[in-house]
């Protein structure tokens, strides 16, 4: 991905926000990245277009899945410094609570990184980190630098 090369040349390989801003779908969802040291938190600010159930109202299950996947990919890009976007092989999502119409936060952990494939777990929450609204684990194909 060109933006990854550019950021690396400019010595900003860890500027995850610039990277996310170059992914049209992440921009469409309005995803922001907060990095403190090596800790990355993704933020999905609430927006009416993220609603899936208007009566509750609740976030769309697909938005939750997409946010988990992006959280995992962002963490993976930061941890591995790979030159292309990792390819998702599979993602398994557990829906734990309904998503309220408020901001959502995400964290991911690279559980195991092999030469070709990485296993990444992600969790997202709203008011309380100890009460996640969804969790996922997935496999991603890496392209080593």
């Amino acid at each position: 991905m060109k933006i990854l090369d550019e950021l690396r040349r400019e010595g900003r390989a860890d500027d995850m926000q610039s990277l996310v801003d170059h992914i049209p779908y992440a921009r469409f969802l309005g995803i922001r990245v907060d990095r403190k040291g090596t800790e990355i938190t993704t933020i999905l600010p609430f927006d009416a277009k993220l609603i899936g159930n208007t009566t509750l109202p609740a976030l769309h299950g697909g938005v939750i899945g997409a946010f988990l996947e992006l959280t995992a990919v962002i963490q993976l890009l930061y941890s591995t410094q790979c030159e292309r976007l990792p390819k998702t092989v599979d993602v398994s999502v557990d829906y734990l609570r309904s998503g309220h119409p408020v901001d959502t936060y995400g964290r991911a952990t690279v559980t195991r990184q092999g030469r070709r494939v990485a296993n990444v777990q992600a969790e997202i929450w709203q008011e309380e980190k100890s009460k996640p609204i969804a969790a996922s684990h997935g496999h991603f194909l890496l392209t080593p630098v």
């Binding site: 779908y25 469409f28 092989v89």
Partner: protein
């Protein structure tokens, strides 16, 4: 447009002609119901792109479309009870190949089993050929969540 009230071939078992806000934001369209399977379409659009170098749509779009189709198609199962609410328990997606840029994505979803509490759904995302899928998924839904239960 899916919000049009005169969609040809609309299956009356589907409760509403209105997609959820996020479905509309993605541009998802209803296509048809055939042999108990629901078909939805995601027309290619720039804001759905995951990699600007290639123009390939983001996996999250496929996730959202498959979740949408999977939830909806439970209503086509003969054991579906009208007015029943539901909640997604889990969704697993396998990505077989990247979607070809500038081509629409189709999703076919089938609720192959429904018990009193749980609905089991499988779905396939494809472009031209159903047998050459972009992704496949399995999902389970809890039916009749507390909001619909009678007070004890």
């Amino acid at each position: 447009m899916s919000t049009d009230s005169n969609i040809e071939g609309w299956d009356e078992r589907l409760p509403t002609r209105q997609l959820p806000p996020h479905g509309q934001a993605l541009g998802i369209e209803y296509v048809k119901v055939e042999d108990g399977c629901l078909f939805l379409k995601v027309p290619y659009a720039e804001h759905l792109v995951g990699d600007p170098d290639t123009g390939i749509i983001h996996g999250g779009v496929i996730t959202a479309a498959m979740d949408n189709a999977s939830g909806w198609c439970t209503r086509l199962n003969s054991d579906f009870v009208e007015g029943q609410s539901m909640a997604t328990l889990d969704l697993r997606i396998d990505y077989m190949k990247p979607a070809t840029p500038h081509k629409d994505l189709m999703v076919r979803a089938e609720c192959y089993k429904m018990t009193r509490n749980i609905a089991f759904v499988r779905a396939t995302a494809f472009q031209e050929d159903l047998l050459d899928p972009v992704a496949t998924s399995v999902a389970s839904f809890m039916m009749g969540t507390p909001s619909e239960r009678k007070p004890a």
